[in-house]
């Protein structure tokens, strides 16, 4: 057997009769039985009396935040899979960190969670916790009578924990149970019932025999949960990640065209969800970049992805772009009423240097801009192709975009059939514009 890992200079400081002390001793025995050295284990402790655990051992230790021990433990286990990660937590930490417990059960990282369950908040004055019986007299007045205690073992098993053990902290084989939990390759929970002499038993009668009685009346939780057995999370993560192809930084689009315009040009595409407005905005920017221009694209849409207006604000400039907004657009592409309505304020500000490409079926506010109506129906352009077709018409105008630039952008952005159909669409729209 290996040496004890107890920290001789820091003996336990629990109240006389506190069950926690037995658990400290049992855990040390387990470490010895398993021949675990102090550098091979980390104790991640929660807050409260159980949060003192890490100080009694000569192991790696992280004493973090109330209810959050499982979060840091997960990071540790992923970073150092070879470590035995033991998490200690009271019934307080269990309650406040409930979401983390559920997630840990589902995730199945190889952590060992020791729940030091003594049915109340010892350190803060014996208030009720998630496991306090309804008929207990605790430091929260009558409030615990109103809430049902949690059966953490049933919760853990139904959340996917592969190993769940419920026992009295007074049971003779506690260190053997801890050993089997630590040896389990996946998330394991040991719910140890104990006695808080400092608070709980001042007003409640609770003895080891009474604990045994209560446990006997509950469904057993005695280790491996067969239906939850599966490969460990970290193992699966590493196995899956190892098969992924390497990723390199995105490449650039070559500069090979001549821009028809100089200076700064702002473009607005006013459409609706599903019209591929953002892709058209991206294409226009790529087209600008193929002509050596500086570009920015920012988008405006509702949280619901498939409904509502979809707007792209674009700037193309021969100088680096400072302000990324569009207050004096040179071009507006208006292809859906929702988009036009969202940006009502802009129309009055346009003068006749601005070009508007507008679908024939939408109403525009009063404007001095030159309006070029596009009858998409006649052009046999479907609603989701309106944005791209408008770019083709814009290229026809040859003001800020050339056909050459647009073709390069499409070649760069799309591949295979996508590219061919985009090029064909642009071709159709461009021809239509020419023959108009």
């Amino acid at each position: 057997m290996a040496d004890s890992l107890l920290n001789e200079s820091r003996p336990p400081v629990f109240c006389p009769g506190c069950t926690h002390e037995r658990i400290v001793a049992a855990l040390d025995t387990t470490f010895q039985r398993m021949d675990i050295r102090g550098t091979e284990a980390v104790i991640v402790s929660d807050i409260g009396c159980s949060g003192l655990f890490d100080t009694f051992f000569n192991t790696h230790a992280l004493h973090g935040l109330h209810g959050r021990a499982l979060t840091c433990a997960a990071g540790i286990k992923m970073a150092r899979p070879e470590l035995h990660v033991i998490v200690t937590m009271g019934d307080g930490g269990l309650g406040i960190g409930g979401a983390h417990l559920l997630a840990a059960c589902r995730r199945n990282l190889n952590l060992t969670l020791l729940i030091l369950n003594n049915f109340n908040f010892g350190m803060t004055g014996g208030q009720f916790s998630a496991t306090t019986p309804e008929d207990a007299r605790v430091g929260s007045g009558f409030l615990n009578q109103l809430e049902k205690p949690l059966d953490v073992c049933r919760v853990a098993a139904s959340a996917g924990a592969g190993y769940v053990y419920r026992c009295s902290a007074y049971c003779q084989n506690l260190s053997a149970i801890l050993e089997s939990a630590i040896r389990f390759d996946g998330f394991s929970v040991v719910d140890m019932w104990g006695i808080c002499t400092g608070r709980y038993t001042r007003n409640n009668k609770l003895t080891p025999a009474a604990i045994d009685d209560s446990l006997a009346r509950l469904p057993a939780a005695a280790g491996v949960v067969p239906e939850n057995e599966r490969p460990e999370y970290g193992f699966r993560y590493r196995q899956t990640a190892a098969r992924l192809p390497p990723v390199t930084m995105p490449g650039g689009i070559p500069i090979c065209c001549i821009p028809p315009a100089s200076g700064r040009n702002e473009v607005m595409i006013l459409g609706s969800a599903g019209q591929r407005v953002l892709t058209a905005g991206e294409l226009l920017c790529l087209a600008g970049m193929s002509a050596g221009l500086h570009v920015t694209q920012k988008n405006d849409y509702n949280i619901t992805v498939l409904r509502g207006p979809s707007i792209s604000d674009l700037v193309l400039s021969d100088m680096p772009v400072d302000y990324t907004g569009t207050t004096r657009p040179s071009v507006i592409i208006a292809i859906a009423q929702e988009g036009v309505d969202r940006r009502k304020a802009i129309w009055g500000q346009l003068d006749d240097t601005a070009l508007v490409l507008a679908a024939a079926d939408i109403e525009l506010p009063e404007t001095k801009a030159r309006v070029h109506r596009l009858d998409f129906k006649k052009m046999t352009i479907k609603p989701h192709d309106r944005a791209l077709a408008s770019l083709a018409v814009l290229a026809g105008h040859h003001q800020i975009l050339s056909a050459d630039m647009l073709n390069h952008a499409i070649e760069y952005r799309f591949h295979g059939m996508m590219r061919d159909s985009a090029l064909a669409l642009v071709h159709t729209a461009f021809d239509f514009y020419r023959n108009e």
Binding site: V44, T71, M78, L102, M249, G252, L286, V295
Partner: protein, 378 residues
């Protein structure tokens, strides 16, 4: 030369990777999600780790655990998530755990508007942790900054063993620009100082002058302790007022001295200008447009864009503001950093241009603010 087309959030991810980030954990939240998406694409193939936490508290908790194991870690969120990070941020400041946190700010308060930008967290980022110990906050203005400042954030976090926050904004994070990342020169990667192996290790003992404890990772050949409790150099709880006071002083001093030689600002000086526009973040881009228009119109103004907000670069602000009669603070909120400028420049005439309605401050609004402020001075 070839530009790629990238948004600020992607540039943050690539900047992190370039700085040696090996661990990312996040929880989906607009407008920060694309940082998580990009990290998920670029970290796992090289053996790095990218995880989705059950909430923001878990995500940053994963990162702190990994960082204590020696991995460079980053998380990213927006206002609602940064609120949930708060307790873990205090843990990281008090227990000296390096981490980079990206806050892609969105319009608040509270849930606010997920797809609208703002710089509404600027004071919260500095003071929104219990204990009030300083951390470092950098503010990018564009995609290039997202890359370079995220890289710098890692170096600072490692140097100083503290959280470094990149205060981005939806208007930067989700705005795409042409950028040639490969053309950007990066400084050397910094790693946290490792404790010598031949001496007994005290996890919070500082041997060097910078006041930063040497690091050993959890999992190394000596048991390493980390604790959120008030501790002495040995990493055990202490109640000794002198040790506690010395630690608090050290936590403040190490951050302030670490950023002393990290200058991070852009000053565009106009001869004979008596007005200084002082701004940061995406608003500095509008300010640049205003600067050019005003100077072209023969109304000289100078422009100072801060890229490190906390600790506030007080000396820099004072020296640049010294010859100015009038300071216009421009920010995308209702007046937050303004308070800091008023504190640093108590004798200056300071006016404010700000708004929080989901729209960028326009160059015209800044020009108008400059005129208004000038009239006040005259």
């Amino acid at each position: 030369m070839a530009f790629c087309f990238m948004e600020g959030n992607e540039a943050v991810a690539w900047g992190a990777k370039a700085a040696g980030c090996r661990f990312f954990a996040g929880y989906p939240i607009t407008p920060a999600t694309t940082i998580y998406n990009t990290m998920l694409e670029i970290l796992p193939p090289g053996g790095g780790i990218c995880m989705q936490g059950e909430d923001e508290i878990a995500s940053i908790g994963f990162c702190l655990g990994a960082s204590m194991c020696g991995m460079k870690a980053m998380t990213a969120t927006s206002g609602p998530g940064i609120s949930l990070y708060s307790e873990q941020i205090s843990f990281a400041t008090g227990s000296e755990i390096p981490i980079v946190i990206v806050d892609v700010q969105r319009l608040g308060p509270s849930t606010g508007s997920a797809t609208r930008g703002a710089d509404g967290d600027i004071q919260f980022l500095r003071w929104g942790n219990s204990g009030g110990i300083p951390l470092i906050v950098l503010a990018p203005a564009d995609v290039k900054d997202c890359y370079l400042l995220t890289f710098a954030a890692f170096n600072l976090a490692e140097t100083c063993r503290c959280p470094v926050i990149v205060a981005s904004n939806k208007e930067i994070g989700m705005t795409r620009e042409n950028i040639d990342l490969s053309a950007l020169a990066l400084p050397e990667i910094v790693h946290r100082n490792t404790a010598p192996e031949d001496r007994p290790y005290l996890p919070f003992h500082t041997s060097g002058e910078n006041g930063v404890p040497d690091f050993l990772p959890i999992g190394c050949h000596i048991p390493v302790r980390q604790t959120s409790s008030t501790h002495g150099p040995d990493g055990y709880i202490t109640t000794d007022p002198e040790i506690i006071a010395a630690t608090q002083r050290r936590l403040i001093a190490k951050v302030e001295s670490a950023v002393e030689d990290f200058t991070c600002h852009e000053f565009m000086e106009a001869p004979q200008s008596e007005t200084l526009i002082l701004t940061y973040g995406v608003s500095s881009r509008s300010a640049k447009a205003a600067y050019h228009q005003l100077n072209r119109a023969g109304k000289p103004v100078s422009l100072l864009t801060l890229k490190r907000l906390w600790p506030a670069p007080e000396n820099l602000i004072r020296s640049i503001a010294a010859p100015m009669r009038h300071i216009v603070v421009v920010e995308m909120n209702m007046g937050q950093y303004l308070r800091e400028i008023e504190r640093v420049l108590p004798n200056k005439r300071i006016s404010f241009v700000g708004k929080m309605n989901g729209a960028l401050i326009t160059p015209d609004e800044i020009i108008e603010g400059v005129h208004r402020g000038r009239q006040l001075t005259e």
